[in-house]
Every structure is written in structure tokens, then in C-alpha cells.
């Protein structure tokens, strides 16, 4: 005795009908058009990163790491990128990097305004919240199929899947950052006759910037975690290397791709975390950096430097 004795709901048929027989025939051109800006940005970045010599790219990242995460991180960047190049994965790494940067760029373009809107309007937040929960909890394999049906295969659909997965933190943290601006400051700003826009740009965004950058960091990390999954629908780069290794039971190849992803992740994470810290630290030793990388829960080197 169970409810299914009385009624069988053909849920999968409904979804099939909705996607295959309604969305795809009617809206396919619309979805195809949607990926145009993504493709443009992605191809531009990809071409640019492929054109710039490896040494130059590495130096730029090392300088950024030096500025925002300290000396140790700069050395790590130099060594890590050289290692990637020496194991022959530099072009794949740059492809992955351009995909990540494109995803994060679009996440920011969409996420920050939505977060601002959600912070200013409780109704928007009430609607946005469950949507974000769904975006974060639904397994990404579930939406890979409709994405392929609507957008086709390739890099751009991969980026769309990445955006769906990586968008929530930046919306959440933008919302949080703006809502957490002290009420007496809001009151003061209002009392002097600020318009809502003046308040946003003079007060709320600057004070929420740390939190928004933390959201950006989270979004970036989530985007990186999608690299392998999007390779399943035709996105290239390090994800493809890992997938190929998996398919051929080539442990070495898969590991090489994995190491590349990890090195890239560490460098990008520390640089964006340093952006959020907003203060320069001149000296963080390589040892401290490495210790902090492998110690769970240890503060980022940017924080640990002064305390140590």
C-alpha cells in the first residue's frame, strides 16, 4: 500500500516534453544568441593568452601574487607555472584560465547587480534565495543534458554550466555585504540628503567591497571546480586532459591535469583573497606559504605574515 498504487506521476515525461518538444524547438535560436557574448569574450581571452609568451604571463601573475599575497606566493607562482610548462600543459592551462576568467567575469556582471537589488528589496531577496539554493544544490550533471540540447556542445555551453554553478556566492555575499553596512551610517547618509544611487556608490559598495571580493573568490573557486565536469560537454583545457586520462586509464595524464588545476587554483585563490584583504604585506616567507597551504584551516599567508 503506497501512494503509487493510486497515482503514477510521469514526471520524467513531463520534463522531457517541456525541454524537447517545447523549449528546444521554440527557443533554440534565442539560446544560441545568448552564448554569443560569452563566445566573443572567451575567444578574445583565449587568443590573447595563447599569444602572450609563457614567460610574460608567469611574470605578470608572479607580480600580482607579490602585490596581494606576499613574496612567498610570488615564488610559488613562478615555480608552479614553470612546472606546468615543463610537464607540457601550458596551452591547456591557458585555455582553462580563459574559461575561468570568462565565467567569473559574467558571474560578476550578473551577480553584483542582482545582489544589490536583493539587498535593497526584500521581495527580490525572497525570490532570489530559493533560486540560489537550487542552483547550488542541484547536481551539475542534471543540467548538463538540457544545456547541451539548448546550447549545443563546446566551450560556451561549458561556461554557461559553470556560471549556473558559480553564480550564487557572489550574489549572496554582495547582498550580505550591503545589508551589513551599519544602519547609523545609512542614516547619516540619508540625513545629508543622499539619493539612493549616491548612497550606493559613496557608502554601500565601498564598505561592502571586502565581502563582495570574498564572494568573487568563492565564485572563482567554484568555477575551477567545474573545469573537469564541463569537459564532458566539450569544453577543452585541463579538464579535457583529466577526462582523457580517465577514459584511457592513464593515471599519469589525469594526475598531470589535476596538478595543473590545483596550481592554478592556489595562485588565483591567494591573489583574490589578497585583493579582499586590501593591505600589502611585504614579506611572507615561502615556508610559511607552503605550511599554510597544507595546514587545514590555517589563515592565508597574507594574514599569517604579520602574526608570525
Amino acid at each position: 500500500m503506497s501512494p503509487s498504487d493510486f497515482l503514477i506521476i510521469p514526471f520524467d515525461d513531463w520534463v522531457n516534453f517541456l525541454v524537447r518538444d517545447w523549449l528546444v524547438p521554440n527557443f533554440r535560436p534565442f539560446f544560441r544568441a545568448m552564448q554569443v557574448p560569452i563566445s566573443v569574450v572567451l575567444n578574445g581571452l583565449d587568443d590573447f593568452l595563447a599569444f602572450v609568451p609563457m614567460v610574460v604571463t608567469t611574470l605578470v601573475f608572479a607580480l600580482l601574487a607579490f602585490k596581494y599575497a606576499g613574496r612567498g606566493m610570488a615564488i610559488f607562482t613562478l615555480v608552479g607555472f614553470a612546472f606546468i610548462d615543463m610537464i607540457g600543459l601550458w596551452p591547456e592551462t591557458m585555455t582553462t584560465l580563459s574559461m575561468i576568467l570568462t565565467s567569473v567575469l559574467f558571474c560578476t556582471i550578473i551577480g553584483v547587480p542582482v545582489g544589490i537589488l536583493a539587498a535593497r528589496n526584500d521581495l527580490t531577496w525572497k525570490i532570489a534565495r530559493p533560486v540560489l539554493d537550487i542552483m547550488q544544490t542541484i547536481p551539475s550533471f542534471v543540467y548538463l543534458v538540457p544545456i547541451v540540447m539548448l546550447f549545443g556542445v563546446g566551450m560556451a555551453p561549458g561556461i554557461i554550466a559553470t556560471i549556473i554553478f558559480a553564480l550564487p556566492p557572489i550574489i549572496r555575499l554582495t547582498n550580505l555585504g550591503i545589508r551589513n553596512v551599519r544602519t547609523d551610517l545609512i542614516e547619516a547618509s540619508t540625513a545629508f540628503g543622499s539619493t539612493p544611487m549616491q548612497m550606493l556608490f559613496e557608502l554601500q559598495l565601498p564598505l561592502a567591497m571586502r565581502t563582495i571580493l570574498a564572494g568573487l573568490n568563492q565564485t572563482l573557486m567554484l568555477a575551477l571546480s567545474m573545469v573537469v565536469i564541463t569537459a564532458l560537454i566539450g569544453a577543452g583545457g585541463l579538464g579535457l586532459t583529466v577526462n582523457t586520462g580517465l577514459g584511457r586509464l592513464d593515471v599519469g595524464g589525469a594526475t598531470a591535469g589535476g596538478v595543473g588545476i590545483v596550481i592554478l587554483a592556489i595562485v588565483l585563490d591567494r591573489i583574490t583573497q589578497g585583493l579582499g584583504e586590501q593591505k600589502r604585506l611585504e614579506t611572507t616567507s615561502l615556508r610559511q606559504t607552503l605550511v599554510s597551504l597544507f595546514k587545514p584551516g590555517a589563515p592565508a599567508p597574507a594574514q599569517a605574515g604579520k602574526a608570525a
Binding site: 551610517l185 542614516e187 547619516a188 540619508t190 540625513a191 545629508f192 540628503g193 539619493t195 559613496e202 564598505l207
Partner: protein, 417 residues
């Protein structure tokens, strides 16, 4: 002097459905009953007062009395449920957001209890905020901000961040930020409440000095009665959202409207509230050339005084005591003794606004104190006994604790000052 701010029948009820609560309130039900019946909280009820141009109007009350709500309604940070708030004739309670913004930019500035400085902006940028919002060019607003900072003595800190400053200095920046836009009305919400006592005292004095030149219309919120009495030209005392008494410091201390106010003023330093003028009596002076010691003795006996002042024409020549005049008169027998022989030329003086606290030392000489005007003319005398009588005057029952019911009942009966 015209009314700058005019508050008429203002109510503020917090909650979703203020309508019913407002009706209940108007039919005379208490704050607690209304909260139980409707879940609505009464913020301010039936507030009405006028603030004249250039005046410091102090609203005093304990926490939860609605004073912060009241001041926030004056610049529309909180919109009243009903009533009118006129600033130069414009109703802040009902005007459009754009008009309200205009009033905030041009006329009203506010100083906050916890300073509310923008932590990511330098001191000069903080002080210039109101000007920036108004759209003043960056050079001009820096110049104005520096002038405002100069007024509060902080121009050398212009490029520091708020976190580098102490509490007292931060509040000076708060004041400079408010002054930089040259507003006509200054709202100060417990501005010195978060400062330690010495700094608070210093800031109060500075505010009074600044006010002498600026002549702003100030609405000042405080929970400290001494602060209210020191600063306020007029004082409103609030309790449970109601204004229970409005008047000058002396009105409130000498004629408290009810037990609640009386209990408040019971502990204050009366010597700092009352001035010489409140205890002075007519001088009834003698003339140095016309009158004799005998005349003086007679006059003092008639008026039951122990000493009398003697004028030389219009100027004060000195003072004659009953003891000395009577003794001289007795010794001389029938001959007239000129007043000059018994005159004491070293006499205490005070002016109209001298606080009683500053009369203790002069009063201890035992001689009456001469109250003089700006031209040093005698306009009255102050008997030492009168000083102490005013200090000890006890207008209300000393053991009366403020109780809600008693206060509500007595409000109707209370004498209006």
C-alpha cells in the same frame, strides 16, 4: 524671533496597522493596553512644540521615551503616523521624497550619538560629505570642509581616517560634517552621550561658544538633565512618548509639571540653574548726600533689612549695615551722622545672569550682594538668606517616585508654568 520648527499633534506608531492603535490612543487608552490589543508600539504621542530661530531646544527623556524617534521625524528619517512638522512652513511629515531630500541638503544637518563617520573616508572627506551630495565641486568642498574643521579645532587631522581619532575628536568631526553645509537647523541626537564625562563637559562648553557666533536653531537630544539644563534655552521633558513639560530650565526646576519631572529635578544642582535675577529684591537705596545714618536705621527697621546700599548720584557708593549705623547714631547723641562715616565701600556684586553657585562666596560675607547692570548701576540687591532659600526650595514632595498612573492623572491637574 519666529518659529523655525513647528511640531503639531505628531503621533508615531510602530507596527503594521497603526490605524486602530491611533484610535485607541486618542480614546485615552494606555501604551501597554494598546500593545496588548494590537501589537503596535507607541513611539511618540501627541507631540507639539515650537522651536524659535537661534534657540537651543533640548528634548530630555530616558531611553525608550521616544526622544530619538521625535528628532528623526524632524528630518524625515522616520515619517510620523499623523500630524504636521513644519520647518519654515514646509511640512516634513507629508512632503515628497525629492522635497525632503532638498530640505535635508539645504536646511537640516544631523549629529549622531555614535558619530556615524564613514570609516573609508578621510576626515576632510567626511566633513565634506553633505557638500558632495549636494554636487559642490571638489576644490570648493575641501575648502568648506577645512573651514568647518577649523571651527572644531581639527583642521590638522584633515587627511587622517576616523579610526585614528579619539571619541571626542570623532564627534567634533561629526559636528564639522553637520556645520560644513551651513544648515539653519542642527539636530543633535545625544551627541555627547558616548563620550567620557570630562570630554563631554568640554564639548558642551564648546558648543555654547560656537552657538554664540553661529546662532543655529538646534534641537538637542539628551538623557542627562544637567546637560539639558546647561544647554537648553527651552527644554522638553518626554516620558513614554509624551512631552510632559516644556519650559525654560528655571521653569522646570521651580515648577515641575508633575511628580515625574519633580523626581528628576530633585537631585540637580539648583545653584547652576537659577540666576541672581531670580532671588533679587528691590534695592531701595539711600542717597549719600541727602540721607543720614539715622535715616538709614529708620529705613532698615521699616523694611526689616540688615543693610542698605547707598548711592552717590547714580553710582554705588557703598553699603551701610544696621549694626554700624545704629551704633554711630546712638553714640553721636542728637547730632546727625553723615552716611559717609559708616559706609563700607568694599561690597560684593553680581550681574543678572550670575549663577547662584557663584554667589556662595559673596554671600558668606553677610552683606547683601549688589546686582548691577552693564553700566554698573544698581538694579537690585540679593540678601544672602534669599540665595540659600532658593537653593533649598522644594517644590514637590521629596519622596515622590515617578509612577505612570500618578503622572497620567496629575497631568490634567498640574499647574502650567
Amino acid at each position: 524671533m519666529t518659529s523655525k520648527i513647528s511640531v503639531k499633534n505628531v503621533f508615531k506608531i510602530f507596527g503594521e496597522k497603526p490605524g486602530r492603535a491611533l484610535e485607541m490612543l486618542k480614546s485615552g487608552q494606555s501604551k501597554n493596553d494598546i500593545f496588548e490589543a494590537t501589537g503596535q508600539t507607541i513611539g511618540v504621542q501627541n507631540a507639539a512644540f515650537d522651536v524659535k530661530e537661534g534657540q537651543i531646544f533640548v528634548v530630555m527623556g530616558l531611553s525608550g521615551s521616544g526622544k530619538s524617534t521625535l528628532v528623526r521625524m524632524l528630518n524625515g528619517l522616520i515619517r510620523p503616523t499623523s500630524g504636521e512638522i513644519l520647518i519654515d512652513g514646509d511640512d516634513v511629515a507629508s512632503c515628497s521624497p525629492a522635497k525632503l531630500r532638498e530640505i535635508r541638503r539645504q536646511k537640516i544637518a544631523m549629529v549622531f550619538q555614535h558619530f556615524a563617520l564613514f570609516p573609508h573616508r578621510t576626515i576632510a572627506e567626511n566633513a565634506a560629505y553633505g557638500l558632495k551630495v549636494k554636487g559642490v565641486s571638489s576644490d570648493e568642498r575641501r575648502e568648506q570642509a577645512l573651514i568647518a574643521l577649523e571651527q572644531v579645532g581639527l583642521s590638522s587631522w584633515a587627511d587622517s581616517l576616523p579610526a585614528d581619532l579619539s571619541g571626542g575628536m570623532q564627534q567634533r568631526v561629526g559636528l564639522a560634517r553637520a556645520l560644513a553645509t551651513d544648515p539653519q537647523v542642527l539636530l543633535m541626537d545625544e551627541p555627547f552621550g558616548a563620550l567620557d564625562p570630562l570630554i563631554r563637559k568640554e564639548m558642551q562648553e564648546e558648543l555654547l561658544v560656537l552657538q554664540r557666533t553661529l546662532k543655529k536653531t538646534i534641537v538637542f537630544i539628551t538623557h542627562d538633565l544637567n546637560e539639558a539644563l546647561m544647554l537648553g534655552d527651552r527644554i522638553a521633558i518626554m516620558k513614554d512618548g509624551e512631552i510632559v513639560q516644556v519650559g525654560s530650565a528655571q521653569d522646570i526646576v521651580s515648577q515641575p509639571a508633575n511628580d515625574y519631572v519633580a523626581a528628576f529635578v530633585a537631585d540637580i544642582d539648583r545653584g547652576r540653574v537659577f540666576t541672581a535675577a531670580t532671588v533679587a529684591t528691590d534695592a531701595l537705596p539711600m542717597q549719600l548726600t541727602g540721607d543720614t545714618a539715622g535715616d538709614a536705621v529708620k529705613a532698615m527697621e521699616e523694611q526689616n533689612r540688615s543693610a542698605v546700599y547707598v548711592l552717590d548720584g547714580e553710582d554705588i557708593a557703598g553699603v551701610v549695615t544696621y549694626q554700624q549705623a545704629a551704633a554711630a547714631d546712638r553714640e553721636s547723641g542728637t547730632a546727625d551722622v553723615p552716611l559717609a562715616d559708616v559706609l563700607i565701600t568694599d561690597f560684593p556684586t553680581a550681574d543678572r545672569d550670575t549663577q547662584l553657585a557663584d554667589l556662595y562666596a559673596p554671600a558668606s560675607s553677610g552683606l547683601p550682594i549688589a546686582m548691577t547692570d552693564a553700566d554698573n548701576r544698581l538694579i537690585g540687591v540679593i540678601e544672602p538668606e534669599a540665595v540659600f532659600a532658593q537653593l533649598s526650595a522644594d517644590p514637590a514632595t521629596p519622596d515622590a517616585e515617578p509612577q505612570a498612573e500618578a503622572v497620567a492623572e496629575e497631568r490634567e491637574l498640574a499647574p502650567t508654568p
